[in-house]
């Protein structure tokens, strides 16, 4: 298979024009941005949404009778429906705005978790979780006297589900597992895990941080109980994200933060909570970024998502095959089902040295543990070099990356 000849109908040159950062020239060299798993770049429409809000209708939402407040509230409220539709939740009441994935997981741990996890219970995570889907559960376990269990993985970085039935025993009260692993690229068989957990009536939280940027997500089809993600990884702004939760669960959960908006009535004698989802959204929300997140979602519908997805698969396959030709390269994470993320190590070369070399050539990759120290420990490595793609990346960028990587190896692996 001659991969260089892959031609996609996807007009990547046109798409790239939507992203101002892609024209940057670090050290006078064209930027090659392969750090998309850390955060994606933003299309102009997202930036425009922020400018438009702050220049024309900035106001606090929901509480105001005046024109600007009305306009801001309408724009803000409309995004809940956009998020609902983006992940196909049943109703927009199932969407809670949070800062991002990390806050989302913590919200579920602090509300559902604190209410339902008891001493002696276990919470099940997987061996390839991001710290954000480990530490909140460790803290909850510590508080409650519960225990963390781990779904193991194999040397390809695939979850091994043989022991799942055992792990989903009577003590297990919650499962938190990532859809797509940021350190390995593995796409997990979430639907199967959820079905098995549900057969024992155990609810499942899905860490969707990487998934939403690469695959179409349907929370009803997955049947997950919670799904959390960050806007900044899916073309939206920093500082905003969402928790999806099944309405019946949300209704039963205690509130999260106390403050304005999440209450129905406050007196010093006692306080009554507002309805879902407002019960979980205390204080002035991140209005501008919610609106800009809406613009990001609109943008996702403005091009051919299937073609964009194919572009990412092409990038993944092309780069994987090129890396396979370099003897000193070892790819970490070789699951059959992978997103456009390639982690690798190089014999005798320090990952960060390589990252710095590539940086001097205008190439942005990430090096280190990728907030997944247990994964690095599993593979017995201090860290990896990670190239992660988005549909706006090109095969030519991969060629340049491979060329410079070879130079780095020549210089550094001695």
């Amino acid at each position: 298979m001659e991969l260089t000849s892959v031609k996609s109908t996807f007009d990547v040159t046109a798409i790239r024009k939507d992203f101002p950062v892609l024209s940057e020239m670090p050290y006078g060299k064209p930027l090659v941005y392969f750090d998309n798993a850390a955060t994606s770049q933003k299309p102009q429409v997202v930036i425009d949404a922020l400018v438009n809000y702050y220049s024309h209708y900035n106001a606090n939402v929901h509480r105001g009778v005046h024109f600007l407040s009305q306009k801001a509230s309408d724009a803000f409220d409309a995004v809940r429906e956009k998020v609902r539709s983006f992940i196909n939740a049943a109703t927009e009441r199932e969407i809670i705005f949070v800062r991002g994935t990390t806050e989302g997981v913590n919200l579920v741990a602090a509300t559902y978790g604190r209410k339902n996890i008891q001493q002696g219970d276990t919470i099940l995570v997987s061996a390839m979780e991001h710290h954000s889907n480990i530490v909140p559960w460790q803290m909850l376990c510590e508080e409650k006297g519960a225990r963390l269990n781990v779904i193991p993985m194999n040397e390809k970085g695939e979850l091994v589900l043989d022991s799942l039935e055992d792990l989903l025993n009577d003590n297990c009260k919650f499962v938190a597992v990532t859809h797509t692993a940021n350190s390995l690229g593995t796409i997990n068989p979430i639907k199967e895990i959820i079905a098995k957990a549900h057969s024992k009536n155990i609810p499942v939280l899905v860490d969707g941080a990487q998934a939403v940027a690469h695959d179409e997500v349907d929370v009803q089809d997955l049947d997950c109980d919670f799904f959390v993600f960050s806007a900044h990884k899916m073309l939206g702004p920093t500082g905003i994200g969402a928790v999806y939760g099944k309405l019946s669960l949300l209704e039963e959960m205690p509130p999260y933060h106390g403050g304005g908006e999440m209450i129905k009535s406050v007196s010093f004698k006692g306080t009554t909570w507002n309805e879902v989802p407002y019960k979980f959204e205390a204080g002035t929300p991140n209005i501008a970024d919610v609106i800009a997140m809406g613009a990001a979602i609109d943008y996702w519908y403005s091009f051919d998502r299937a073609a964009a997805h194919q572009q990412e698969i092409d990038l993944l396959n092309y780069c994987t095959s090129k890396l396979a030709d370099i003897p000193s390269v070892r790819i970490i994470g070789t699951a059959k089902n992978k997103a456009a993320v390639i982690s690798f190590v190089i014999d005798k070369a320090n990952a960060m040295d390589v990252g710095m070399f590539l940086d001097t050539k205008g190439i942005a990759v990430r090096t280190g543990q990728h907030c997944a120290e247990p994964v690095m420990d599993w593979f017995g490595i201090p860290g990896t070099i990670r190239a992660s793609f988005m549909f706006y990346n090109t095969l030519e960028e991969v060629d340049y990356f491979i060329e410079q990587l070879k130079k780095a190896i020549q210089l550094l692996a001695v």
Partner: protein, 141 residues
Amino acid sequence: MRTIAEIENEIIDDFALFDTWEEKYQYIIEIGQKLKPLAAEFKTDDNKIKGCQSSVWLTASENNGIIEFSADSDSVFVKGEIALLMEVLSNQTPDAIVNAELGFIDQIGLRSHMAQTRANGLAAMIKQMKLYAVGFQHKNV
């Protein structure tokens, strides 16, 4: 014996020849590659510097009130940094080392292109070198 300030100035002059970060990076790598490897017996956990993401080993010896450092790392770049630090701080008195301000690091533009973890590592190396010097100061009292 050249003073620390004099050596720093020479390094600053050396780096002034380079226009770009790319050239500086490659120069540091070159220096790193020339650093004599540390004998395996010194690569102990005791000699490992905490706070560096890369593995860094550092030892020091004193002779007639003059300190000599030896070091190694699994990162060529970090070896380059160490080589620069050793050029400045080896063969100096404990007092001089303790008081060194090491302004050259900022002036050659080293810090501004490093990830936080690596900048922390650099700081940890300098701290460890100074701690050795403090140790030898007390020994000589």
